[in-house]
Amino acid sequence: MSLKYGVLGLLKGEPLHGYEVKSRFEAMLGGTWEVNIGQIYTTLQRLERDGLVRPAGPRGDRGKLLYELSPQGQKALDQWLGEPDSGPQQLHEDIYVKLLLATRVANGDLQGMLARQKRTYLQRLRDLNRLEERARRDGRLDLARLVRGALLHAEADLKWMDELSSERFGAEGARTE
């Protein structure tokens, strides 16, 4: 997720000053995204430099500056929203490399490694289930959707782990050279 477009998206609704951008973004993502105020100001300054946002009036109380979206900023945001998210798929490559190495190392504890990894995923799934329930209870359907995305990814990771645990993989893995 790009901070740049996140800021542009928030400013589309109404002019905001830096601290409001930070707190709204964190609230929108249910605390799953952490950013320091310095990053926000740096981003706003770069966006202003590139003509995508502009001050909405003079400095106010305690030097606070409200920013608004410029027409170019609006265009950039629309273009970004319309683009499909491409690029290579993100994988948990660590576990895969560990697995490849464990199949090669004669005393590699493959099943133990897989079992520990699986347990981690199961616990994650349980935590995500709780989060989803809480988000729904709180009426945060937007956050529930984010959690649901994480849930589906965790489920896929678990299925993968099961395939890796299956004896068939062990045999194939051993032949890989």
Partner: protein, 261 residues
């Protein structure tokens, strides 16, 4: 062991060696002729009274076989299945039938209601096999499960969710020591499935020991505090999932990148 001694073992809270151990599988192997999937290979596991345990694994992994052995619906090729302190191998066919009737409630994916009996009559079958007349309890159970109004309808006139609740009432009519559920939401839509799972959670809250077989990891981790993972006929992991509710930021991190220029 006769029926009375068996009942005694259950009523007495358990068993010879453990405090609250209810089920013990010791090095259980099940071999099927002709290479049918679902075989078990040296499974050892115990289940405590009052636990809600999920047995999870892909299809053909042997998870349903485990449930069937615990239910006394099938016998192991080798190893011991001990339920409530009783070695099921020591029971003859009649003894096993009594064991199932008195101590096991079974909920299946496809309900298995008898089509020519009403919902209420279906619920009463296990009680009648036992010789007890408990229509009041049957109606009460249907009420607790929220379907009292369908008591006199035939299964064909019930929705999938209603049929499964009738099947749960039937499983509970003899107050089983163990409630076994094999993919109980597999034939239901999401909403009915959640209602059925909520019912199981409520039953567990009242002390019911539940073993749930599922291939669905989300379902398993959502409701059961313990998840046994079965792969290729072996229990590869026994996870006890605990912990308080955690903050979103501890569980999910949305990846961000700074504006680079």
């Amino acid at each position: 062991m006769d029926g009375r001694a068996l009942v005694g073992a259950f009523r007495g809270g358990g068993c010879k060696n453990g405090m609250s151990e209810l089920v013990r599988l010791s090095d259980v192997t099940k071999v099927y002729q002709g290479g049918i999937t679902g075989a078990l290979n040296g499974v050892s596991v115990t289940v405590e009274k009052g636990e809600f345990t999920a047995i999870m694994g892909p299809s053909g992994s042997g998870k349903s076989t485990m449930l069937n052995l615990i239910a006394g619906l099938d016998r192991p090729t080798s190893g011991a299945v001990i339920v409530g302190g009783t070695d099921l191998a020591k029971l003859g066919e009649a003894g096993l039938a009594r064991f199932r009737r008195d101590h096991v409630g079974f909920v299946f994916q496809f309900f298995h209601l008898l089509p020519n009996l009403t919902a209420l009559e279906n619920v009463l079958i296990p009680a009648q096999l036992k010789g007890s007349e408990v229509p009041g309890r049957a109606r009460e159970l249907l009420g607790q499960l929220g379907i009292e109004e369908v008591a006199d309808r035939y299964p064909a006139r019930l929705s999938g969710g209603q049929q499964q609740r009738v099947a749960i009432a039937r499983a509970l009519i003899n107050k089983p020591t163990l409630l076994l559920a094999d993919e109980p939401t597999g034939a239901l839509d999401t909403h009915s499935g959640e209602q059925v799972m909520d019912l199981l959670v409520q039953l567990h809250g009242r002390g019911q020991t539940i073993l749930l077989v599922t291939h669905d990891a989300k379902l398993a981790t959502r409701h059961a505090a313990r998840v046994l993972s079965v792969i290729d006929g072996k229990v590869v992991d026994d996870a006890r999932l605990e912990g308080p509710e955690r903050a979103a930021s501890e569980v999910i991190r949305v990846r961000t990148e700074e504006a680079s220029r």
